[in-house]
């Protein structure tokens, strides 16, 4: 009987293809909107999250905002690693943009002054040559480790160890080229990393205003943050406003909450379009009931009860909405595949998104089909038969 009802629903939908398609279109667009938007946000969240995690969730960033007399020195920063068990490595950092030149080529590079420990803290790996070493820092030697963009733009090749690059009249010997960065944040491709001591001189800034700290392991992040806070409070005379410590994990948490709000918002907006699609179904079902009054009369005369007529029309609207839902999922899959290819990111549809979309479609089909179906089922057979 159920099978028979579905067959009848399909034949009724097929007998009016254009109208059925247009009705489904509302649902299709709604589903595509929900699935694509939610999947895009999910995909972006995952990618950003993995990038942040790639930086190391045990990373702490300290920024000194104090303009007071108490200045933090490079030595004090390096001392922190020895003073506290929880702290693994520290690296002061100062960055500034400057034009890097080689011959006639110019590239606006991010000049970063730091120490040798930044290699592990920043998760860097080298394509050619070596990273900064402690003697480079101590001697303020004019050497530089550059990102691939710098090499590409200035030399057109990546094997440039031994070449020289000039920045504001100073010449730097290239001692290493970094691997292409996989992270969109703090991307190292456009960087030119030089000894911290040299940067202090060039930028005419002796205080440490920013430095990175890694915890000894991922379990001691909280301890490291507590120890850092203690140390900095002592240094800046218990002035909590003099510095700020940013925890990578905290950024992740914030991100996650922002993204889930986004998902909710976009999903909600898309859900409204699905609702509009549902109203379209109700409209068409009402027209259909009016057009098929005679058919309903005939069916009732030969023994169809209310429940039969009700279920017939309900199944019909359910079939339209669920069919629309499936087509919508196929279309979304296509769109996401294209977007993934273009953005070279992976935007996969999750099972839960599909389940949500199909579930919502069924809900819409039943809710908006109910009124027309009940209207059909309540038609009096004599009146319905009298219609022409």
């Amino acid at each position: 009987m159920i099978f028979q009802s579905f067959r009848m629903a399909f034949s009724s939908i097929l007998s009016n293809k254009m109208r059925s398609f247009l009705t489904m279109l509302g649902i299709i667009i709604g589903v595509v909107a929900v699935v694509v938007l939610v999947s895009l946000v999910n995909g972006a969240t995952n990618s950003v999250t993995s990038q942040i995690q790639g930086l190391g969730s045990d990373l702490l960033t300290v920024n000194i905002t104090s303009k007071g007399s108490k200045a933090l020195t490079m030595g004090e920063v390096e001392q922190l690693a020895d003073d506290y068990d929880s702290i693994g490595a520290t690296a002061p950092s100062m960055t500034q943009n400057a034009a890097a030149k080689h011959g006639t080529n110019t590239y606006s590079a991010t000049i970063q002054g730091t120490t040798s420990s930044y290699e592990t803290i920043g998760g860097l790996s080298l394509l050619y040559g070596r990273f900064l070493k402690t003697p480079d820092i101590g001697d303020s030697t004019a050497v530089a480790v550059v990102g691939v963009d710098v090499a590409d733009e200035l030399f057109g090749t990546r094997q440039i160890v031994g070449q020289s690059i000039s920045v504001s009249g100073r010449s730097f010997l290239v001692i290493g080229v970094l691997n292409e960065s996989t992270s969109a944040f703090g991307g190292s491709d456009g960087k030119m990393i030089i000894p911290y001591t040299l940067a202090q001189r060039i930028f005419k800034q002796s205080d440490v205003t920013s430095y990175y700290v890694t915890a000894r392991d991922s379990n001691s992040v909280d301890a490291a943050q507590t120890d850092l806070t203690t140390a900095m409070m002592r240094k800046f005379n218990q002035d909590a406003d003099a510095f700020s410590i940013t925890n990578q994990a905290a950024i992740l948490d914030t991100m996650a909450s922002v993204m889930s709000t986004m998902t909710l918002l976009l999903g909600g907006i898309a859900g409204i379009s699905l609702l509009v699609g549902g109203i379209g179904i109700m409209n068409i079902m009402l027209v259909s009931v009016a057009e098929r009054t005679r058919e309903i009369g005939i069916r009732k005369a030969i023994g169809a009860g209310r429940k039969r007529i009700l279920s017939q029309f309900l199944i019909e609207s359910l079939v339209i909405s669920v069919l629309g839902g499936f087509i919508g999922i196929l279309v979304s899959w296509g769109i996401l595949a294209i977007v993934s290819a273009i953005a070279s990111m992976s935007f996969a549809m999750t099972g839960s998104v599909i389940a949500l979309a199909v579930g919502f479609c069924m809900f819409v089909g039943v809710v908006f089909g109910l009124y027309p179906a009940s209207k059909a089922s309540k038609l009096q057979p004599i009146q319905a038969l009298r219609m022409d």
Binding site: R294, K300, A301, I302, G303, G305
Partner: protein
């Protein structure tokens, strides 16, 4: 067997109350071929609706097959129509989107008869009507006479206690009308009870008995001589 006892039905048309049936009393025995005749507005359509359980009387008693049709829910009436009655209409009332076979199967679908058995019985009924080679045709691909025979097959397929035919020849040419009437005669001689509603005296003359209606009253019951 049908028995009506003082059955009344009043329709309200605005202010006015129309006595479509006024204390109608009559009986039809099993195996009879009865014509209900009368001019339009005489109440014969209302009579048919009540006999056919499409409507319920306001007062009086109507007994179909020993079962008093009174205070039934719509759902139950649908069941009674399905099992005990077969309808044949003037304009055939076939579902245009379904094939002849599917049309005939429909009452069995509502009875919950399953696939193979249902098809077998529908094909039997159509074959009996001489339509064995037309079972997959849509109504639009059939002539008027063929459509009416599909409708009769649909009425017959459930083995109803009663076949109710409302002007079955009204939309057919004379030759086809005679053919269809012959079918009713054959069915009657096979033991089917047939109630024919018509305003055409020549058609009514072929029935075994005539019930004449006028202004909601059952006037005369004439026996064929």
């Amino acid at each position: 067997m049908i028995r009506m006892n003082n059955v009344s039905k009043i329709y309200r048309m605005g202010e006015e109350a129309v006595h479509a049936l006024d204390k109608a009393t009559m009986e039809i025995q099993d195996g009879e071929f009865v014509a209900i005749i009368g001019p339009s507005g005489s109440g014969k359509s209302t009579m048919m609706n009540i006999i056919g359980c499409l409507d319920i009387a306001d007062s009086g008693e109507y007994v179909l097959d020993g079962q008093s049709i009174d205070d039934y829910s719509e759902e139950e009436l649908a069941g009674i129509r399905n099992r005990k009655l077969g309808f044949v209409f003037q304009n055939f009332n076939l579902l245009s989107k379904l094939s002849a076979l599917e049309n005939v199967e429909l009452p069995l679908v509502y009875q919950g008869v399953h696939g193979r058995e249902r098809k077998k019985r529908a094909v039997q009924a159509l074959t009996k009507m001489g339509l064995a080679d037309r079972i997959h045709h849509k109504p639009s691909e059939l002539s008027g006479g063929q459509q009416q025979r599909v409708a009769i097959a649909r009425a017959l397929v459930t083995n109803p206690s009663l076949i109710l035919a409302d002007e079955p020849t009204g939309n057919l040419d004379q030759a086809t009308g005679i053919e269809i009437m012959q079918l009713f005669h054959d069915l009657n001689s096979q033991g089917n009870t047939i109630v024919l509603i018509t305003h055409d005296a020549r058609i009514a003359a072929q029935a075994g008995r005539r019930i004449r209606m006028l202004d909601g009253h059952v006037m005369i019951e004439e026996e064929n001589t």
